[in-house]
Subunit: 165 residues, 10 copies
């Protein structure tokens, strides 16, 4: 079996649409999903997002991060162009690093009702320190709930080398 | 014991054959297998495939990825030149990233009936984001079914650094 | 839900305050906390601190380290600017490498009563050797106590390459 | 001789001032300079600016770059906090990559009248390609004019490896 | 001075146009140029193109390369989306590695009449060897002609490490 | 306790012997072992062998690999110079990648009767693909048998980046 | 609590003492210990020792290694300058790679009676091969005995890349 | 202009020919050339050859190297498959490192009469030392003769880091 | 000729002296020199100093840098332990980045009267930017004066990648 | 022409000789040379020597370095095994870093009378600083004398990153 046909693409309003409008205020409504053609199988999809930027709520100074979003879909997968627009919408939005990753995960849970999801933000330093918050989630009442706890308890035992250069 | 003799190679139509024809439309029929000489033992074979390219089904734009295919064979192993031709056959074929890895794995399961298999695609970015889908499979009713679940649940807890450069 | 409002920031005396005074003698009292807005969820916050410096208690010679501090908050999270000031306060303070990581962890436990915390110091070499002490802690009587033991028992099985250059 | 005294700092309105206002529209007027204490000597100052972001003038999509700004000062050096604010002011401003580096250099020439200056922008990819424009300048009628030509003619003979990951 | 206005963009048929058609046969006519706003100054523009793929003229097997294209513009700069389409048009075109870089440079000279240009292709290995051809050009009768000769004569004195992994 | 005395070295025919003869046809008989002085303890010995080369049985073309051999000894350890000679003996021998690692492991099991052993070959690419087979073994009826199964089931969950350069 | 006072340092004969004598014959008696101030807690101390050198017992040729020593202390911690002197004392001592790591671990067990300890030596190549022996130990009759077995059974599943350059 | 036609390929006996015979004794006669289609222009072609292996003439022990061959063609370019076969022919041939690079360059000068050529061999270590010989050549009586001298006199002023691991 | 004898060491008050006192206020008087035994020859000595730290004169916040000091000695070379103490003396001293490198170079010129010297400071970021000042000097009236100008004019044409992580 | 014959090897007393005696006191007499077969040509030979160790003349503490020795031979080339033994002979010899590189170069000039030679030592840190001395030489009265001056004047304009880890 191979090849997305037109039916599986009919929900897709953004990809290939030239009138894309970039929103720079927090806009969860821009997120869109499409059907998961392989819902009979548990598998992972990871998004690498090195161009995340938001504002510090206190100082209004821009913050920069790479976001790693990884999930096991259930019935829906996130459409990648809408995810891009959603992440761009944090551009002029103020929130702490710890809040950003939780909000992004909450919005994707709301959209996709995934079996499992995790979000890891790796921010550039302010004042000589950098902050890397990480949250995850497994659908309550399924084996993925335990999976989430296990992954959290074994999270990041080999922190990457950071020297601020 | 050492050295493939001619018997074990008689099924091999491609390797060393000069009339190889490169197909650039999805062609699962090109895949060939040869005998596994070590089927008494569970062991791993990994293929690193940094030259995978396909087309986006919506925009018809080329996509690029490195595919990592890793499996524990049962009676058969995939012949490497036929795998190369099979992967080349995605060159002008349109499908989403998430679908490509599932299709490749499905086709290799069909060919090899392996004990275990996994496929990880790492794509170059589009719109500032890159997508890395991963799927796996263990033969139902064997210990490899549980192995597949365990590996999925512990998948990629240390995402590689991606900065789009 | 999104955006820290003013209420959640009212405890914050340092961020954005121009009269910051840098203390260079061990000053645990400088540490401040703010509310954790996501205490319904277990999640990780990591601080990368590559600019730690203290003095050797015997020779009075400066020591240098990168500190990695990682924790699962309970009701409180540490305010990052206060953490910076706290770490700066070791600048003219004398203690062995092994003691510094334990003291930092003790002070953050006192401040935050976290569910889980760990501190890893990676020091530059003296006499051709470098020392990397690591300690951790899980709240007694919770699952995090067992988590701490498990992480310690599986700590650093892949030591990073160190060649003193 | 050592230590900036108060006289040399009196022009400095931003450093240590808490009422900093972040401007997100192109604002060359925010740039400030201070005296060069070593103008008897030719020497280099380099700024590494990995958090530059602007908007594409056609698509309004965010662009990301690392800017490397390097110069030999004459009477004045740029105050680093004002340079930060200036670069942040491109955040919601639309211009092509090639234009951004020329504009930044023009504004710093206007501010500092430097002996020599160069600006190199390294942007993240769009459509699978990335663009790295570079411009430089030597004060006309001095040896630095020839220096600029020589450096341009020998520019980037070892392009860094770029693989979009 | 800052900001491309509409006048400078009027020649641009591709950027932001949704009806982009991807051509997979060699198509130099797809290349487009726009005005260089800084033609009073010599400066460099580099394109990093890690997704180049063509076909071997003898075996019809796909070849893969990263192309580095760097030039000093005169009156015109190449529009980046048209360059992308042009490079994609080699996808099903057969030519030797050495020929590809020369053809690309010839076509860009024809389009842009640049002051200086160079093209470096770095191909993945075939049969254990990889080939990296490099060509350059300076406008005849100008100082850039000598510049081209100088750069060629000092080309790649520090070959990058290549180990086929 | 310290220092190998002459008794423990008396079986050693190769180390320091100038009449070493290099065999370039598969020669398992060249392998030699010496006593393990620490057989009361389970511990690991790893050999890194980046200079392995054999011939493809079909095309007679040279293949190249790095072999990683790791084992827990029982009564005997392999003498390193004899292992070098053994690996050199594949130089003009033809076998598939998958077979080489199994043969090497079989021969070392025969020689050493180890508690545990594993062999991982990482080959350079042919036709754009590279192959990395891995096999392991635990002595039947001991805890090392289960250890081998566990390691296989958790093998290589973080495949190294391979880009054929 | 913070700061080593004089009492905890009174056993320390070497640190800050100018009459240090470097011994270049195996000298376990040079090792010294000091009190562990945090014996209520299990925590790790790692020493990175990239300047280890010994002699081959057969050929008398110098061998070079990086030693990684990691342990959980009980009542005592090793004084770092004495460890440096101890490791230097292998300089003119002859022993096989496999023996060196076992001897070092035995001597530190004798000195410190630690809860857990491990030693990993990574040697430079001889004859194109390099050897990396690893041993560990947990105090018999405690949970650390099981910890040692678990760590050994999961040792080094991701061997570092070694290419002899 | 684009695309090799059949005329330019008629001299090519090896590429795509299935009856390739691999010679493992020094065989300069296997080298073949094809027409340079761009002889009006000076440009560089580099071959990266990480799979070179020969034998030590004294000890008969295998040596391993990466060969970097770079040249400016005149009327002819070397056919890549014949170069591969030629390099393979050193497999069982004995010569010192310094001699190998000179011989390879001599044979390519004989074949191609190039304007400029250089060969750099980077060998793996023997006895803790590694050797990297480099030679070059410019056609006598042309500007390339001076170019060769200039490149030699500025050769390798930044030796790569080598640590034998 | 080999081996420092006692005469050449008689000026050396610090090396091996246990009463070393660490000064943390700018102390150029701590610098000491010894005789250059090879003053008949021009040669380079470089100091890598990754543990430099000073204070910002405005904010009193600690700054961190790696200092690279490189010189051609005349009659004297700097004694390395005294250089260490001198650099430590900036620990509680306030000065701008641009001033620190100039001051260090001035003090070493005063001490050594070197033929040539250069100082490059690479600082960690503040506010998302980092600063790398570089100064140099050649003895007036000698060829080293021209050498200094040449090196400055060709300084840092390949800025290292900086991404603040 | 290819292959060292017996005549060119007759001077070679060490290579393949089993009675090699390792000397650990400075022994320049151990150096041996063989004929340069390519003396009609100027070419480079580089030795990478990462296992150099000597003693500090004041403290008697071991020092460690990587030595890079690079030269253009005249009539003789150094035999590599004798160079290894010579470098090993510094093992128990005391001298400053600056002196070691000058002594090594002097001894090789004495042995080989080379056209050009340079020696760069890169030492591991002591007290947080590391020292990298570099010296070179061109045969007086030849073009290589000027070459040496030119290389010295352009030495190390891109110091490698050193962070003591
Ligand atoms: Ca860094
Ligand atoms: Ca970095
Ligand atoms: Ca990257
Ligand atoms: Ca990359
Ligand atoms: Ca990248
Ligand atoms: Ca590589
Ligand atoms: Ca590669
Ligand atoms: Ca690679
Ligand atoms: Ca390699
Ligand atoms: Ca290395
Ligand atoms: Ca190393
Ligand atoms: Ca290596
Ligand atoms: Ca980064
Ligand atoms: Ca380092
Ligand atoms: Ca660092
Ligand atoms: Ca290092």
């Amino acid at each position: 079996m191979a090849g997305r046909n037109e039916n599986t693409l009919k929900d897709l309003s953004l990809l290939g649409n030239q009138n894309t409008k970039y929103l720079f205020e927090y806009s969860p409504q821009v997120l869109e999903s499409i059907d998961n053609l392989h819902s009979n199988r548990d598998y992972f999809i990871k998004f690498n997002c090195p161009e995340f930027t938001s504002l510090c709520p206190q100082t209004n100074q821009p913050d920069f991060a790479t976001m790693y979003i990884s999930y096991i879909p259930d019935k829906k997968i996130v459409e990648s162009k809408s995810l891009k627009l959603y992440l761009f919408s944090f551009r002029n939005h103020g929130d702490f690093h710890e809040d950003c990753v939780n909000i992004i995960m909450n919005d994707l849970i709301e959209l996709l009702d995934p079996r499992y999801i995790e979000v890891w933000g790796k921010f550039t330093p302010r004042g000589g320190l950098s902050i890397d918050p990480y949250c995850n989630y497994g659908k309550p009442g399924t084996k993925f709930e335990q999976m989430a706890e296990n992954r959290l308890m074994n999270h990041d035992m080999y922190p990457e080398k950071v020297d601020n250069r």
